[in-house]
Amino acid sequence: MHERSAESQAAPSAVQPRGRAIVITSGKGGVGKTTTTANVGTALAMRGARVALVDADVGLRNLDIVLGLEARVKYHLLDVLEEKVSLDEALVRDKRSEQLFLLAAAQTREKEEVDTGLMFALIERLRGEFDYVLIDCPAGIEQGFKNAVVGAQDAIVVCTPEVSAVRDADRVVGLLPNAFRPQLIVNRLRLQLVKKGKMLSVDDVNGILRLPLLGVIPDEPDIIVATNKGEPLALNPLSAVGASYRAIAAKLAGDDVEAPQVREKTSFFASLVGLFGGRS
């Protein structure tokens, strides 16, 4: 099944324009894959792209919660794969954007129930209808990971500045198909801790992973507030986290943008330096 999929991937149809299917992965759990998927998707939709978010974390779905769409979910991924409902019926439109859609994971099923070949076909179909298909990968490197990767052409690797997260990210990068050009998002960076030598820096992390750096997300309390409310921070024009996600979306879309500098909000001096254009 894998072999066949790989072949058809290698020869993309020249007839219809194809969207990009990108898997958001990390290996380790709890580093912010789902938050990243929701925010990058939201930011891409804000730019006018048509975006489908696919929650591939069957059995532990959360993407609907982060997006605040849990009340709207009626059907899920496995309903579509098993042809119980049509794809259009299962896709949930976002509250705020007409361009953003969610295909939720099944909560009461298991990852092993997902057929890899059917998953590949589904992502291909979504690519025909959307500019971007972002696939929220489950933690781990087992069947759930394989199903999340099978239809994608590329990957975003999310990593926090921790030994365990870097090790797992390194492992996951090694398991991605060779054709992928994975890009890195360093999540939950606390610049103050980095300066004190108490946290790995972006350079430390990427000195090991050596991936193109897509963006850096500062660790801010408003992420928790946003998740509580189900409102992705990408929508918030005042949030530093939101600005980082919007910059990531711009970079993904091919804009030549300068990523916002990650600054410490807490330090008055640092903000002063920031005001005068210094690199903090």
Binding site: V163, V166, R167, K196, G197, S201, I208
Partner: protein
């Protein structure tokens, strides 16, 4: 300020410790070599070397280290004396398990050995530097590496 003063007295920050731990853990992840495999490799490596030269096994060091873009196996082996006659070829291709090692193409000094010179040579302890380069992500079974033994002309 307090943090700065503290950092003066702390020899290693926790992020430095994290970096070092990552380096070590990824090394074994990438090479898929368990510590006991490294010990076996070391023993085989020394066995091969001692076919050609008399080495100081107790002071031999075999370590893995990260270089700019890859990992390297470094062996520092004190050589006590040269064993065989110099007319023998010093090209050797020796399979050690799955590791393929080629001795250097550099011929050893071909000066005729007078008994006196041979004794002096024995007294000279020599170091052979071996570097085995590998790509960052390799399986142990795929390692095809070249070991180069550098023999410098003797200075008496």
């Amino acid at each position: 300020m307090l943090g700065f003063l503290k950092s003066l007295f702390q020899p290693q920050s926790s992020s430095e410790a994290a970096k070092e731990r990552l380096r070590v853990v990824l090394l074994s992840d990438h090479l898929s070599l368990a510590p006991e495999v490294v010990e076996l490799l070391k023993a085989d490596l020394l066995a091969v070397m001692s076919k050609y030269v008399e080495i100081d096994e107790r002071n031999a060091e075999v370590t893995f280290e990260q270089r700019e873009s890859d990992f390297a196996l470094s062996a520092s082996v004190p050589i006590l004396s040269v064993k065989t006659d110099r007319t023998a070829t010093y090209r050797a291709s020796v399979a050690v398990g799955t590791l393929h090692a080629n001795a250097s193409e550099d011929p050893i000094p071909s000066a005729p050995a007078s008994p006196g010179r041979r004794r002096r040579r024995r007294r000279n302890r020599r170091l052979a530097q071996i570097q085995v380069a590998s790509t960052t992500i390799v399986q142990a079974s795929q390692v095809q590496a070249t070991a180069q033994a550098q023999a410098e002309p003797l200075q008496v």
